[in-house]
């Protein structure tokens, strides 16, 4: 591990000023915020992340979960994943978020990992994690070892010829289906970024994963009020029953009445280069009878643009079955 300086800012203004000196907030950042550290420290040990400076944001007052006046929820950036998953308001109004978080990692890691850190969780692609291998995300221009390599766990949606790395988060998938907003404070003031716009596709610049700029500090995430009468589910399919990343997952939030679907919010995990909201599948479901045939059609549409690699073609079918099963379960 490369050595670094550790700074402990007194407030968010100091934290932002310290981090704003970095040339990038993306891969290769010389200055990083650190909270739970469960991704960053792991990657520092592998020399995939080599920051010269760490800014400790653990003690900043961003650790609250509060109801908003409109009936939504505000979640502080350093709220631990465990506290978010078990919070009574989350259990009651956003069960899909609780289920998603509890399906990921382990109790110890969820006790450490934070909301903002999970939003910024890095891919588990083994080529990204191994500095002996080519990886356009870690080292732009070095090539992609995963294409035609070991790509069984990697993405089928949102890929490019430069990168097929999967976004590994479960929480992000639920956040996408719940239409969360990420609130950022930076040198240029405050911004509210819909989660659909927060993560970016790899394209020609896979080293860039989010819209964050140097100094941008995620302060909190907000959730809109829950859709009245909605039913939701997070279904995660994986190689082991616990402590494993998704091969495919689906977060579904459905409002149905009289056998018809009034409103659907759909996001897929384990298959996309970013948390994969499928507005196409949602449109396919809206106004349709809540039947297996409808669900299959929506699942077809959700993976219509899938591009399979040499080892992960099974994910196209798996993602469809995952979504169909989640929808059938939730309206049963």
């Amino acid at each position: 591990m490369k050595t670094f300086q550790l700074t402990r800012p007194k407030d968010s203004a100091q934290a932002i000023a310290a981090a704003a000196k970095s040339k990038t907030a993306q891969q290769g950042a010389e200055i990083r915020f650190i909270a739970g550290g469960t991704t960053l420290i792991d990657l520092m040990k592998l020399n995939v992340e080599t920051p010269q400076s760490l800014v400790d944001v653990n003690r900043l007052p961003m650790d609250k979960i509060e109801a908003t006046p409109d009936g939504g929820l505000t979640i502080g950036a350093v709220v631990r994943n465990s506290d978010l998953a078990w919070h009574p308001l989350v259990r009651k109004n956003y069960a899909v978020l609780s289920e998603a978080i509890l399906s990921g990692a382990t109790v110890q890691i969820r006790n450490m990992a934070t909301t903002a850190g999970n939003l910024l969780q890095r891919t588990r692609c083994m080529y990204f994690r191994d500095t002996a291998m080519p990886c356009n995300k870690r080292e732009p221009g070095s090539g992609c070892g995963a294409i035609n390599g070991m790509n069984r766990g990697l993405a089928i949606l949102g890929t490019s010829e430069h990168c097929i790395a999967t976004n590994p988060s479960d929480m992000n998938v639920a956040m996408a289906a719940l239409e969360a907003t990420v609130h950022v404070r930076g040198g240029k003031g405050e911004r509210a970024i819909p989660i659909a716009d927060f993560h970016v596709l790899p394209g020609n610049t896979p080293q860039r994963e989010t819209v964050l700029e140097p100094g941008d500090l995620i302060t909190h995430v907000t959730l809109p009020p829950p859709a009245p009468g909605n039913r939701s589910l997070y279904l995660k399919l994986r190689d082991r029953a616990s402590y494993e990343f998704a091969l495919a997952s689906a977060a579904v939030v459905i409002t149905a009445a009289n056998g018809k679907i009034a409103r659907a919010r759909i996001a897929l995990g384990g298959v996309g280069t970013k948390p994969w909201r499928s507005t196409e599948a949602e449109a396919e479901l809206a106004g349709q009878p809540a039947t297996e045939a409808t669900f299959r059609k929506a699942a077809d549409v959700a993976v219509r643009d899938a591009k399979a690699q040499s080892q992960n073609g099974f994910k196209v079918d798996l993602a469809q079955r995952c979504l169909t099963h989640a929808l059938s379960t939730v309206v049963a």
């Binding site: 591990m1 050595t3 670094f4 300086q5 550790l6 650190i34 739970g36 550290g37 469960t38 420290i41 792991d42 040990k45 760490l54 400790d56 653990n58 465990s82 078990w86 990692a105 382990t106 109790v107 110890q108 890691i109 006790n111 450490m112 029953a241 616990s242 402590y243």
Partner: protein
């Protein structure tokens, strides 16, 4: 070379098992290495050093966390508890006694981490059946495969069995 000779060492004060330690350490020092190499509490074990095995589990402010995936310098002001703070050979924690009673280990390398998780689990929203216990314990890997007896030991304590 001792840690105090390092030019980049920083002062860090930690509270471990109720005792305060004033140290000078390299900022890269993981909490696990700090506990083992600087404070000489070697009960917490290094298995994978990447947050995948749970052998390094300690309690921070009463909650179980992985000491290998954190820097010691991030824990000033925290109350850290290691296996040494849970019980001693002459005065075992009921969970330690249950692990002995149930033969919940073979080589013993993962055991302190297992026990730290198991003690924390007693205060967590874990359902009563074995499947729930297995899920809550999935962050602690046992290479010897003592899992059935680990679950039995935890259930024994949860069901209020007396030691012995």
């Amino acid at each position: 070379m001792t840690s105090t000779d390092l030019k980049d060492a920083i002062p860090v004060s930690l509270r471990v098992n109720g005792k305060k330690y004033d140290l000078r350490i390299d900022p890269r020092t993981s909490l696990l290495d700090c506990l083992r190499e600087h404070i000489h509490l070697t009960g917490s074990k290094k298995g994978c050093d990447h947050g995948q095995c749970g052998a390094c589990t300690v309690h921070i402010n009463g909650r179980r966390q992985l000491s290998c995936l954190s820097f010691a310098a991030l824990h000033e002001g925290d109350e850290i508890t290691t296996i040494e703070g849970i019980g001693q050979p002459e005065k075992l924690h009921p969970m330690q006694a249950a692990f002995v009673k149930c033969d919940a280990y073979q080589c013993g390398y993962c055991t302190s981490g297992q026990i730290m998780s198991a003690v924390a689990l007693l205060k967590e929203p874990c359902g009563s059946d074995d499947a729930e216990v297995k899920e809550f314990m999935s962050g602690n890997i046992c290479r010897c495969g003592a899992y059935p007896n680990i679950v039995a030991a935890i259930q024994r304590v949860r069901q209020g069995a007396q030691p012995g």
